[in-house]
């Protein structure tokens, strides 16, 4: 079952992890100040961007929002990466996945570091993390697709996080303590994403694509729902409240219903799914939706 190309990539990235191994506990100086007049996120990554709420908010309020949305993002990363680690730990000794054991141990080590530095950042610069409440409903009735869904969720979550990493790294106006944490995260995630895409494509080709079309369609619908859920995790009423916005719950609903935000979601989802053409199909000419390949 393991594919040479995928296993070779995993081996190469394991070697890279050994070569670039770092002691996370000495990698950051949490006393380094963040200027009060700085944006912590590029404005284009704020959940208000493109809406009348954004236009009406002054620069000071938007700067506050950029701080609290960064804290929200890093809180989401902490919770999400714990889920990813759990998925990998459950599969680390799975027969058939032996060639990836070494890679999985590095993945767990690096995700563990990410959880640590995101949490430390939030505590150092905001004094808290946001709490996320969710419940599992005991399976989605697709247990035969567990491995594929698990690796896809890992990959999609990391793709989502890396959109923010790259945007923050490219924006030189973002304070260095914030850019640095995105840079360190991005450096690890690039490898995880590359292997994640390969493993997901391999599982899809070898197993999922051979299932009845209804099962495949259901799995892909589930993953689109997952990606939408991840995208919506950026809209946190607690962050809106901390940034000083009135009616934070109403603001979330208003933003999620805003045409500009819906378009932004289509664009972000399209960008992420376009990296899985053998699974979600090639992007349509409009560039924001995908058509399944039927082969």
């Amino acid at each position: 079952m393991p594919e040479t190309r995928t296993a070779s990539l995993a081996a190469a990235l394991s070697e890279r992890s050994r070569r670039e191994f770092y002691n996370v506990y000495g990698a950051f100086d949490w006393s380094e100040p963040i200027p009060a007049d700085a944006f912590w996120l590029p404005q284009g990554m704020l959940t208000t961007y493109g809406t009348s709420i954004h236009e009406a908010a002054g620069p000071g309020r938007l700067r506050e929002l950029s701080k609290w949305e960064t804290i929200n993002l890093f809180s989401v990363f902490c919770v999400g990466e714990a889920d990813l680690v759990r998925e990998i730990v459950q599969r680390i000794h799975r027969p058939g996945l032996e060639p990836y054991f070494d890679y999985f141990t590095h993945f767990i080590d690096e995700e563990n570091k990410h959880m640590w530095f995101f949490k430390q950042f939030c505590l150092a610069y905001a004094g808290k993390l946001y709490d996320f409440k969710k419940i599992g409903f005991g399976g989605e009735g697709m247990s035969h697709l567990d491995d594929f869904l698990a690796f896809m969720k890992v990959a999609l979550f990391e793709e989502f996080g890396d959109l923010y990493n790259v945007a923050a790294i490219r924006d030189r106006a973002i304070p260095e303590p914030v850019r640095r944490i995105h840079r360190v995260h991005h450096n690890d995630e690039v490898g995880h994403i590359l292997v994640g895409r390969e493993i997901a494509a391999m599982l899809f080709r070898d197993h999922v694509s051979k299932l009845p079309p209804d099962n495949v369609a259901r799995a892909l619908k589930y993953l689109r729902g997952y990606l939408n859920w991840v995208l919506e995790s950026a809209y946190n009423p607690q962050a809106y409240r901390d940034a000083g916005f009135a009616d934070p719950y109403g603001m979330r609903l208003s933003l999620l219903g805003d045409a500009a935000r819906k378009e932004r979601h289509r664009s972000m989802a399209g960008e992420i799914l376009s990296r899985y053409p053998s699974i979600f199909g090639e992007p349509s000419p409009a560039g924001d939706s995908h058509v399944r390949n039927h082969r």
Binding site: D131, K133, K134, I135, G136, F137
Partner: protein, 79 residues
């Protein structure tokens, strides 16, 4: 008094899942797929907005949200 009513819950469920028709107040919302784990976060935030405060973490378990009647019993009188 909270703003959580059976009608309000069903309205939210229909608005967020077009496949939902009549909802028996004792129907299992989770097992019958009326709401899924991804939509649940939005549903929880909707209830919190009606309550005007966050719902305690220890109450966020499947049993609390199993049916419309269970939701009313757990949260409607607790604002």
């Amino acid at each position: 008094m909270s703003g959580i009513t059976a009608e309000g819950i069903v309205r939210w469920l229909r608005e967020n899942n077009p496949a939902v028709g009549h909802v028996d107040p004792d129907a299992n919302l989770l097992a019958e797929g009326i709401i899924d784990s991804f939509k649940f976060v939005g549903f929880l935030l909707h209830l919190e907005s009606l309550l005007g405060r966050p719902i305690e973490r220890e109450k966020v378990v499947p049993e609390s949200f199993q049916s419309v009647n269970r939701i009313l019993a757990n949260f409607a009188g607790s604002a």
